[in-house]
């Protein structure tokens, strides 16, 4: 905390801030914003602990994670003038669509560029991904994959064949948020 306060991002007037992390090459990070000046730490938000999680029961699903009722497929590269019907026409071929979100750009009112589709079964979702990833819709190439995956720990446990369940980490924030903000060394996990 005290260490952080030495680092006044606006003090020099320019936004260049040369970073030197221990035994890491020099990295220049441009920092901006009043948020860097407030030192408060909230323990009740995303930096807290004990979050609800869905854990996988289906090892045949590979890295995909089942949602509470079905399997959620993400479609990107969706044309801004595409309609829900365009999406459901294509994606109902693999199974009944239980739910569909085609969100709009709040500024333009056109489609933001992605859609989320729910199937009951893993096989339906997998078939949709296999067939539609790389397909075209209204002249644009789609990318299609599961929206949710198992946590990295869970996936490692699965691959190792062990019962490597998810272990909760209470450490929150970006790279050890308050105490060692100077350090920007990657992959501190």
């Amino acid at each position: 905390m005290a260490k952080y306060e030495e680092l006044d991002v606006r003090a020099t007037g320019d936004l260049q801030d040369l970073e030197m992390a221990d035994s890491q090459p020099e990295i220049t990070i441009r920092r901006k914003g009043r948020g860097f000046q407030s030192g408060e730490q909230r323990g009740d938000g995303v930096h807290g602990s004990e979050f609800d999680k869905l854990s996988s029961v289906d090892s045949a699903a590979g890295r995909a994670q089942k949602s509470i009722e079905g399997w959620i497929v993400l479609i990107t590269g969706v044309h801004e003038e595409a309609t829900e019907e365009d999406i459901s026409d294509k994606f109902a071929d693999f199974g009944p669509i239980k739910d569909l979100h085609l969100n709009l750009d709040r500024r333009t009112g056109f489609v933001k560029g992605y859609a989320l589709v729910e199937y009951d079964n893993f096989e339906e979702a997998q078939e949709a991904i296999k067939t539609m990833n790389g397909a075209k819709l209204l002249g644009q190439t789609l990318e299609v994959d599961f929206a949710f995956v198992k946590s990295a720990n869970e996936d490692r446990g699965r691959r190792a064949g062990g019962a490597g369940g998810f272990t909760s980490r209470s450490r929150g924030g970006y790279g050890g948020r308050r105490s060692d903000r100077r350090s920007v060394s990657p992959s501190r996990r």
Partner: protein
């Protein structure tokens, strides 16, 4: 690689007669998405949900953030936090790291009346697009209404 570093967090909240009421969510570069929502109104309790999104979902999130060009903006002329609360948006993307803090924005009138309507408008719409995405993910994954 530092260029691959990514982090995105949004907070909106205030202290009021029902205590600390807020929503907050964050995405980590490994795909971990956390969502917390606290409202003590009518004795509703804290909601804390954690999910892991796929690389394609992260890629789309990064596209939305990059397209908005939010990291070119600066919050120094935006309305300061006040008794009605505040919003925070922290984004680390490549070599850019912004942590913006401003008052809650009721409508585009607040944006227009600010000292930097063009910049605040970018923030205003990006926040709405991010919330829209996160609420869809929570609704579909958990079959709950997030707020």
């Amino acid at each position: 690689m530092p260029q691959d570093e990514f982090y995105c967090r949004y907070y909106s909240g205030h202290q009021g007669r029902y205590g600390h009421e807020f929503i907050e969510f964050e995405f980590h570069s490994d795909g971990r998405l956390r969502y917390a929502n606290n409202s003590n109104y009518r004795n509703e309790s804290l909601i804390k949900k954690e999910m892991n999104v796929s690389p394609l979902m992260l890629k789309e999130l990064k596209r939305i953030i990059a397209d908005s060009e939010i990291t070119k903006e600066d919050d120094n002329k935006w309305p300061k936090k006040n008794s009605f609360g505040k919003q925070e948006l922290e984004i680390r993307y490549g070599n850019e790291h912004v942590s913006f803090e401003t008052a809650k924005i009721g409508s585009l009138v607040d944006v227009q009346d600010s000292g930097d309507p063009d910049g605040l408008r970018v923030f205003y719409y990006l926040v709405q697009d991010l919330k829209c995405l996160v609420f869809s993910l929570i609704t579909l994954h958990w079959k709950i209404k997030p707020i």
